[in-house]
């Protein structure tokens, strides 16, 4: 898919995803070694965006499996279409039992869920398994076969093996420790907050109307907030929101009043706001 690390950064940039060197290198390796990519990091740094950008670049279809507590085989792998099977049985009343039996467990009656969709067919695909940590531990077991061999076993049909391997991205917010078995099948990538230079480029890209100097100030203030001991530090998504807010307010430069009034965009807890205001000398909020 990619020829070099620079190729990854350049092509991801065309879709509007500015990758840090770590991201570009790991994506390149995931493609080259054919291994799934496990992405961890705080909320709002672009874990899901990365999968979308890769799909966009590769001209592949994005297949998404959103994990949640209680997700099971029927939602993740496949399910037999019982209603259709019943219809088939009642339609073919005069058939022999053998004909019906072999027929109703055919591909036609199989409802493919994301994991099966991703490994069937020949067109390139990107499989995004979002918020893997939200799923129960048992689901990780299901994933193991898919992630290591890219195959799924359906008892009635046999084993379905991928002809073209999908590019797999798993994301996790680390609310639960993923199992060692799952981790060792993946390349590990931690996306942290970008450095000031990269974040400034991201802000300029996402909020084109913002002036260069203001973008720089925005990034510096956010950087200072991240160093504070806050309950929820602002993420890249919040930086962009704040930049948009400032643009909408028509602010040319930052001053106490502007920052004080718009601090709520960056910080989501009242005690964080108070603490930041004290640290940044904003006066009373």
């Amino acid at each position: 898919m990619f020829t070099s690390v620079d190729d990854v950064s350049a092509r991801l940039a065309t879709t509007g995803y500015l990758a840090s060197p770590a991201v570009a290198t790991t994506v390149f390796l995931a493609d080259r070694l054919g291994k799934p990519l496990l992405v961890e990091g705080p909320a709002g740094v672009g874990k899901t965006e990365l999968a979308k950008a890769v799909a966009d670049v590769a001209g592949a279809r994005l297949v998404r499996l959103q994990c949640y507590e209680g997700i099971d085989e029927a939602r993740a792998l496949y399910e037999w279409n019982h209603a259709k099977q019943l219809l088939r049985i009642s339609a073919g009343r005069d058939e022999t039992w053998d004909a019906t039996r072999t027929d109703i467990f055919g591909e036609e009656f199989l409802l493919a869920r994301p994991l099966l969709t991703a490994i069937r067919g020949t067109d390139p695909k990107v499989l995004l398994i979002d918020e893997t940590d939200k799923a129960d531990v048992e689901v990780e077991g299901l994933l193991l076969e898919v992630l290591s061999d890219f195959q799924i076993t359906v008892p009635e049909l046999g084993t379905i093996t991928a002809t073209t391997r999908p590019f797999v991205v798993l994301t996790s917010n680390a609310s639960r420790e993923l199992s060692e078995a799952l981790r060792r099948r993946c390349l590990f990538l931690h996306i942290g907050f970008p450095d000031a230079e990269l974040e400034r480029r991201i802000v300029r890209l996402k909020v084109p109307g913002l002036e260069e100097t203001l973008a720089e100030s925005v990034v510096r203030v956010v950087g200072a907030l991240r160093e504070m001991d806050l309950r929820k530090v602002p993420s890249v998504a919040e930086t962009i929101d704040w930049a948009r807010t400032l643009l909408a307010l028509g602010a040319d430069t930052l001053d106490e009043a502007v920052v004080r009034d718009s601090l709520g965009v960056l910080l989501k807890h009242q005690d964080d706001v108070l603490k930041a205001a004290a640290k940044l000398d904003l006066g009373a909020v």
Binding site: P21, L33, E40, F188, R231, T253
Partner: protein
């Protein structure tokens, strides 16, 4: 990389790196090592930072391992070999001037180069011409980069005349840049020492362990601060584990009466087993913490952690003691946002010491049993945190026996290594005979114990 000799060199280096990481407790299988070799092949050796990311992606399984990986990587894949030409440039003031310029421009490549020069110029000690060793401490002592703050600030201000809102952030930013420089010096000194003494030794000895393996009793100020920051993520993780345990426990046993009644509709065949419903009782928790100087770091951390877990319990009460005991539950609730001042506030706002300042478990337990008899009931689990060093006073086993008779369970978490229990003034074996005492030396052990011991 073309000749076979060079290739075996690289392979050895990689396995050496993996060995050093394993020695630090990072579990890496052969499969990952092979992946790392493939990554090495795909990326080549041209770009060191890419190689670093590539090896990290293949070898590591978590972000916490990164702080061990980076120094070890620097030792095995050094930026350069040997020192700069000659031992010139030992001019302290010239170096400081260049450092000011580099810090003002925020040029990390330049500060890295200066770190190399600094270690070369000021870090060497010993008598031999090359130097016997290299010390980052000595380099930083002579260079004193922290004193450059004002000069850097003035330089930056002079360069861009506009002083806007962000001007107030400048000093903190410069402090962070200086911190980066200090780390670069440490890395460089480690590299030079590794050249002299062998990579394997330095990679295992001179790299700090991950924060969840740091001994509570040995942790420094920065490490404790790091631990405090880890409280909330850890609490979230533990809460999920406790919830999972609770769910499993709630599945419970078969309710025979209701299963049989239900089976009447199927001709007496029990098709649908009915499980006994459990009343959702949220257990109560009492924490008894020694907050004397010797174990304060451990107690602080555990108190904050349990407080962060408070929604898992119907009632959490926390008591602190040195030689007298007092309740600090209220302080923890208000102190949720400022964990740093906790120890100071406990000292100033409560009575935990009587006539003297050294810990006395016996009288503290006695006072607890007397003053707070209603704190411990049949649903309460009691956790005692402390090293059981009573300073030769009476351990008052009768009091602890009284507490454990009333409580559902009593556990003791001891931050000392098991081998030291019972040495000197430690009454650990005496107490351990009456309740369950566990060694709890670092965050890793603590979280394992909490998942196992906390009642669900």
């Amino acid at each position: 990389m073309n000749s076979p000799a060079a290739q075996t060199g690289i392979a050895e280096r990689l396995t050496g790196l993996v060995g050093a990481l394993r020695a630090h407790g990072i579990r890496i299988g052969t499969g990952e090592t092979v992946d790392a070799a493939q990554a090495l092949e795909a990326l080549g050796l041209a770009d060191r930072e890419r190689l670093r990311e590539g090896l990290a992606a293949t070898l590591l399984h978590g972000e916490a391992q990164r702080q061990v990986f980076d120094p070890v990587f620097d030792v095995y894949f050094p930026r350069r070999v040997g020192g700069p030409e000659g031992r010139a440039d030992a001019d302290r003031d010239a170096l400081r001037d260049r450092l000011v310029a580099a810090l003002a421009a925020n040029d990390e490549a330049m500060t890295a180069q200066l770190a190399v020069d600094a270690v070369n110029g000021f870090g060497g000690y010993g008598s031999s011409p090359g130097s016997d060793g290299w010390s980052s401490y000595q380099t930083l002592e002579r260079l004193r980069p922290q004193t450059l703050l004002a000069r850097v600030r003035d330089t930056v201000r002079a360069q861009n005349a506009v002083s806007g809102f962000t001007d107030r952030l400048l000093e903190d930013e410069i402090r962070r840049r200086i911190e980066v420089f200090r780390r670069q010096v440490a890395t460089e000194a480690r590299r030079r020492v590794a050249e002299r003494r062998g990579r394997d030794e330095i990679a295992t000895r001179a790299v700090a362990p991950t924060s969840d393996r740091v001994d509570f009793l040995l942790a420094g100020r920065t490490q404790l601060a790091e631990l405090r920051r880890a409280v909330h993520p850890l609490a979230r993780k533990l809460a999920t584990r406790l919830a999972a345990r609770r769910r499993r426990a709630a599945r419970g046993t078969i309710d025979l009466r209701r299963t049989l009644r239900g089976s009447l509709s199927t001709g007496g065949v029990p098709m649908h087993p009915v499980l006994r419903r459990r009343r959702p009782v949220r257990p109560e928790l009492v924490l008894l913490c020694d907050v004397s100087g010797s174990v304060a770091g451990f107690s602080d951390f555990t108190m904050l952690l349990v407080q962060a877990l408070h929604d898992q319990f119907s009632k959490v009460r926390v008591f602190a003691f040195v030689n007298r005991v007092d309740e600090v539950t209220g302080l923890l609730v208000h102190g949720g946002t400022d964990p740093r001042g906790l120890a100071a506030r406990i000292r100033s706002e409560t009575t935990v010491t009587g006539w003297h300042d050294s810990s006395d478990y016996g009288s503290a337990f006695g006072e607890f049993a007397e003053r707070y008899p209603d704190a411990v009931g049949s649903r309460t689990s009691v956790f005692v945190l402390g090293d059981a060093r009573t300073n030769m006073s009476d351990p008052n086993l009768a009091a602890i026996r009284r507490i454990s008779e009333r409580a559902r369970r009593v556990y003791w978490l001891n931050p000392e290594p098991r081998a030291q229990w019972g040495t000197g003034d430690s009454a650990a074996p005496d107490y351990a005979g009456l309740l369950e005492m566990y060694e709890c030396r670092n965050v890793r052990q603590l979280s394992a114990l909490i998942t196992r011991l906390l009642p669900v």
